[in-house]
Symmetry: C2
Subunit: 364 residues, 2 copies
């Protein structure tokens, strides 16, 4: 069975002040009436023959997550609660250990947008055949611009008998603009999306070989887990045991496995993907008016162009500016230049060290 594993971590500090420690990016309503977690969960319902999703999230976020899933009528799911964040490799390991080894795990960060669900489902179908043949498939987003903010995957030869799935030639760190432009033209480079499909057993085998401490610690944490709500397939979720899990190395799936395994494969995905990385991304996603502004809430703009203005209850007036981000989050306010969208983070007064959490912030 194909089981969607939704990694509902991701701090999303660049989306402060709407993304906050207590209601981080996947749980914030950034793009409409639904949170990114909710749209991600709804998307999995479109995958034929998929099982109930398995949510992996921080313990403190689970009550809000359960409420949000309830709000969209999703009542059949399981949840693994992490006492602290340990990035994606341990989260996926816990999921793999909690299911049957022949189940296919579709790893989905909860904070991504995908416009074309049909193309998404089609890409999964191709990848599923490869996963059953023991390939660890990472989805590579077909680039439409020379993006310097993502890591890239260079694909190698097509895998025989598996349409649309390729060997991985190399992983590339975030490139400079010249390299990003080159990558755009090769037709072989794609963005490293942080979405994966593999058989639970394949992943665990590779992880045991390449980074044995992660499955060992995770298995111990799962064996000693508290089951406040009963069994795994119950909305109560199960809470990984803290001491074992805290000793688990914090490592991404890419670093722990994909960059080192010989079973790595990549499937291209052209489905209008966005990681909603910053306010700039939300401005890009629009809808923009004729002055190039994206505006929500009680806002009044005069002589303003190319800006993102997000008002809430209090009226916001913006006059005579170009390329500015204004976000009123009720109890905090952000005003930033659009060209500084990547530099947004909470001010130091709130800047206690934030816990390392599962999710796409660790993606390279």
């Amino acid at each position: 069975m194909l089981i969607p594993v939704i990694l509902a971590g991701g701090l999303g500090t660049r989306l402060w002040p709407v993304s906050r420690p207590e209601r981080p990016k996947p749980l914030a309503r950034l793009t409409g009436d639904l949170s990114l977690l909710q749209t991600t969960a709804l998307r999995t319902a479109a995958i034929p023959d998929a099982g109930a999703p398995l949510i992996v999230c921080g313990e403190s976020h689970y009550p809000l997550i359960a409420r949000q899933l309830d709000d969209i009528g999703l009542r059949n799911y399981a949840a693994l609660l992490e006492p602290m964040g340990r990035s994606t490799a341990p989260a996926a390991a816990a999921a793999a250990l909690a299911v049957d080894e022949d189940d296919l795990l579709l790893i989905l960060p909860a904070d991504h947008l995908i416009e074309d669900t049909g193309a998404f489902v089609e890409a999964i179908r191709s990848a599923a055949d490869a996963a059953r043949a023991d390939w660890l498939v990472t989805f590579g987003v077909v680039p439409d611009r020379p993006e310097t903010g993502y890591g890239y995957i260079e694909r190698g030869e097509p895998i025989e008998g598996l349409a649309g799935v390729y060997r991985i030639a190399s992983f590339r760190e975030k490139p400079d603009l010249a390299a990003a432009r080159r990558y755009l033209n090769t037709g072989r480079h794609s963005w490293n999306s942080g979405m994966f499909l593999f058989r639970a057993g394949t992943y665990l085998e590779e992880l045991r070989m390449l980074h044995p401490e992660i499955p060992a610690r995770t298995e111990a944490a799962l064996a000693a887990a508290a089951r406040p709500g009963g069994a795994l397939l119950d909305r109560g979720g199960i809470l990984l045991e803290s001491e074992s899990f805290s000793g688990c190395p914090s490592e991404s799936i890419d670093r722990a496995v994909m960059e080192r395994t010989r079973r790595g494969a990549t499937a291209p995905l052209a489905a209008g993907w966005s990681d909603v990385g910053s306010w700039y991304t939300l401005w890009e996603l629009g809808p923009r008016d004729e002055a190039g502004n994206v505006v929500s809430g009680p806002a009044h703009l005069r002589d303003v162009t190319g800006s993102y203005v997000r008002a809430r209850e209090r009226p916001v007036t913006v006059i005579g500016l170009e390329g500015v981000i204004v976000v009123d989050a009720g109890n905090a306010l952000l005003v930033a230049g659009m060209d500084h969208a990547q530099a947004v983070k909470p001010p130091p007064v709130q800047g206690r060290a934030l816990p390392d959490e599962t999710g796409s912030d660790q993606r390279r």
Copy 2:
């Protein structure tokens, strides 16, 4: 006796959202712990032999004004309450009619800043001699920059026997930059401050000749005035009768009298004057930090220069911008380019026609 007449009108729409209809610019705390009305009232106490000030204000603002004067310990004053604004000429006429005709009226808009009280008192001393000799004296602020936002007064010959007082050669509308630069170099041009000194009787004589409807209507409004608190020299104030006063033409002292009288004179004032006209002015007044920012309240700035940031209770974070105005007024928020400071006004959602009020907004 010299009586300071404080015109506490002035909408100050360019200082929205701190300046609001219910607490306009003179009553807002723009520059510190005191409102401009309070600093204006305190300044009059430094004038030797001056009588108790006479406040002319909108009826609805009087309770707040009385509270603010009480807060600075000023309990000896009179108040004339206008049922609606009719600009400065009728306000000054009401004051002139309420006092003895030989009293000197020092007309002071309540929304100006003056740094050098000593120079201010000195200028008044010169002007008082002229006023006793039946001159209508307007104070001309010695310019220190080629300001295009003010009207100018060109002085003529010195008046014999009256040191520091000149005939008026001409009034000049707001100039373009080239003209403003010329004016700066002549030594004969000064900014039209909206501050006057004249004998009550002189003003009324000229007004009766040049614009007889104003004193006639004002006199009727005063004769039929309600006296909720008793006599004029009582903190209750007296309320001008509405029907008579509403028929009074809305006209500034400049237009109604100064531009047409043969008794006009001007006295130069170099006392660090500012009309606190916009957020740009407040940025100029400072204090600016080494990045050229003026910041108050819980604000956090990163890569920001030349900006004015006024936070209140909620933290405001500004990142990567130059020359921006950010004003959080609690229930409304303004974000504007510094070069658009003159264009600030309330958004149209609150934009019902605002009443025409006494004060410096009508000054030319």
